[in-house]
Symmetry: D2
Subunit: 275 residues, 4 copies
């Protein structure tokens, strides 16, 4: 099933490094090739392979959501990802460290689910977004005036700190912090969420994913575009950002913990006690 | 195309009654049968037909969203509806009074769009909802504890004033007032929105429309169910409300004003002036 | 300092009843008179005194916020209250069960702080509110149109589910659930918070406590008034509700846990882990 | 009463320049000295005086809130300000252009109200804020972890886009856009409002104005501080921002339009039509 597995880990955490070592040994014992990221490899006394040159069927990421996004964007092609969560905010990473080996065993037996997540593409040369694209000011003292159009109708035209265009996968993250609703990843939709809009009528909107979102800064200001909190670019005045569903997607390996279970973990949802 | 047209109007407004009269005459001149609601008919000196007995191909409603909901639920079968908005909140009614006759002419020529809107059914014998189903307390001094389950996972279990389960059509209405996002009606989804939840982690959620929503009151309290602000029922303790997409839908006649144009009207969206 | 102490407890919880028994014994040993609520007294084989007839210097309440509100409103005069929190939401009750006796010892030595909390009075014959006054519909299927005036200016006039007029003490409760801000109890202010307003421009407002809040239902509907979730009344059409700071206040006994420490407990505030 | 009046206007608008000319003439006719800002002066063929050198009893600002803030911060001492609103967002400026001369006449007769507004000072050398101090990231791709302490209690410690510390005057502006409540300017209080907090439990808080607000970035990141959208500074890692009520205040000349009337104008509050 998987002939060659890539391994990446946060090297600033000893537990992540240790788990990476154990995982390498386990894969060798099971006759699966392991391909280790250089920094981790040097910690383990192995030879490393940069993510950009990994020719693997799957990557195991030991860390948090930030690590997964970093690996995802560095890989030369989109291979499935299995995230093992190390003491951190982890909505994307499903597996807890204590379940790492039972999960890997299930993985090698083919006993898992593929969870395919849509991405958002843009017209300005930045990578696709798994979570969200943020449009904002280039420098903090500015405000920007954005116009958002749908179906040729100007649905919003307001001064804002920024605008988040999010996938369902990203909806319990930054978009939620900005006041939007949580969108089930099985819905093919895009969330459009203003950050600190001057007008109280500019509210979060969920639009079909076959919809093309046009965002235009109204004044001759540069705006700053940020993809998944990792890739950025300044857009010249008078430019327009066009965002739509990408033809690419990301596949996560899941073992049964569904969207709503991961959501509970993200939100710290607990029953409130009796009065 | 349309052989027999039903007509309903708010009879507490003279402009609505007058428009109803003109519309009757116009249909007669154009050899289309008119079927008039009793109250309006008596104002016009005509013989009326109760909505529940109307055998028509289409109904024109002169009024606001409240009138449309009333007519919709009273008709014996779901026929297309054309709403003419009389000085009121009108998200469902597209046509302005001054455009009534040009719209009717386009209607008779077949120059229009059918906008099909999903409804929500319930397991407790109330009619389907076009906008939303509200679960709440029977008497105002209570609070209720509700458990909401998705995919067998308890996603929320909290004390609330109530819970709104809304269609995309209803999303810019009550669900928006309760803090949710606006959902494009082309998305096949259901919004689940708590009203005044005790826990700040209970947030609006958008779920796929093929999803069955289970809501269970946790204590032995009666709860009150309200469909489209019009039909109500008290649910015995220990009952469970099961809400899902109905097999029925409602069709509105549209002439091009799209979702986002109607949304602007609903929100009073206007550009904010320059600083 | 305190010659006679009243004791009230939730009798549906054995730990509360047990703590009540121990507390009675402790007070007797320390030569302080105890006055026990009838239901608790019968459980302890003692003679009880109804709250309304208690002539005491202080009341200890073993339970949650609901118990404290019930006792507070039943007492013939406002005496200081010490709350011991039994497994429940407890923003008003400061002391944890394990600290009950060390706290009572500090109490008898005079080593405590008096925390005086403002109340809201009304013009319709209901008791003063420690937390909030809620104006809403009498029956759940209605919506109401309310006009709120300040300084003679109509600041809001909208269809709502209800309106919360809250003290700072109530601000982390119902008012927070409805979307308002948390007000420090040392600020002399009243929060005015709409529940599900139709207009997105009707936002929570904090006004000076010497301000008189006038709320008027616009249509000829009855409205329902609820004080601290406990006392209710229906207001005839055309009535007006006038709310202002009461001349009475409530004093809580505190041992150092300040507003913000209790707030953390209410909100379950915890540091979020590293990314 | 006023011997010498300063005049400032937006010179990018002809109506503002024209009103400035008329005002100069009117003051001369009434034997009041006028002191004109250089840019406006050169447009009027007069000799100008920089704001920083104006020795006047009052300044009339013709423009919007941005102009008022610019003038306020440039004046060598805090003199009363009268704002005339030119086609723009104007919460601070009370007078409409058509009322400019009747207002100036009332001003010279002493028929007006002084509205004194508190300001916020900081420990990092930036000017006092009339509206708000914003703490945020230096560059847009960062998130920051801030700790906010009150009374020695850590009330929040979360990853955010930024934090707004606002006066009541600023509360219907940026703080409202970020989700806070509107605070009456007669309340002596400070609003603390997170921008896009990761934790849903970090909510806007209103604290007494004699309270000192301590904000500390948790990681070794630089943060960016912005006062009234105009003055900025980067704070070195490990620094702490201390914000408190300033000993200085700003006085606005008012003619009766009270806080709530100006608020209605800001919010575009209108009655919603009947259903």
């Amino acid at each position: 099933l998987f002939k060659r597995v890539g391994i990446a880990a946060r090297v600033d955490r000893e537990d992540a490094v240790g788990l990476g070592r154990d995982l390498c040994n386990f894969l060798q014992e099971n006759m699966v090739g392991a391909c280790v990221e250089p920094e981790l490899a040097s910690r383990l006394g192995l030879e490393g392979t940069p993510l950009g040159k990994m020719n693997v069927d799957l990557v195991v990421v030991i860390g948090g959501d930030g690590s997964i996004l970093r690996v995802l964007h560095a890989l030369p092609q989109k291979v499935p990802i299995l995230g093992i969560r190390i003491a951190t905010v982890g909505f994307l990473a499903e597996v807890e460290p204590q379940d790492a080996f039972s999960s890997i065993k299930r993985l090698l037996k083919g006993d898992f689910i593929r969870d395919e997540c849509m991405m958002l593409s843009n017209n300005i040369g930045l990578p696709d977004a798994l979570n969200e694209i943020r449009l904002g000011t280039k420098t903090p003292q500015q405000m920007i005036r954005l116009e958002v159009a749908m179906d040729g109708v100007r649905v919003a035209c307001d001064r804002v700190d920024g605008l988040i265009v999010s996938t369902p996968t990203g909806s319990p993250g930054y978009a939620l912090s900005a006041g939007s609703a949580i969108v089930d990843p099985r819905i093919d939709a895009i969330s459009i969420v203003p950050i600190c809009p001057l007008s109280l009528n500019f509210r979060p909107m969920i639009v079909p994913s076959n919809h093309v979102v046009h965002v235009k800064p109204l004044k001759a200001d540069e705006i700053h575009i940020l993809v998944d909190g990792q890739f950025e670019k300044n857009l010249r005045p008078a430019g327009e950002v066009v965002i739509k569903k990408s033809s690419e997607s990301v596949t996560f390996i899941r073992f049964g913990l569904n969207h709503y279970e991961r959501l509970r973990r993200r939100l710290g949802m607990t029953s409130t006690p009796e009065a």
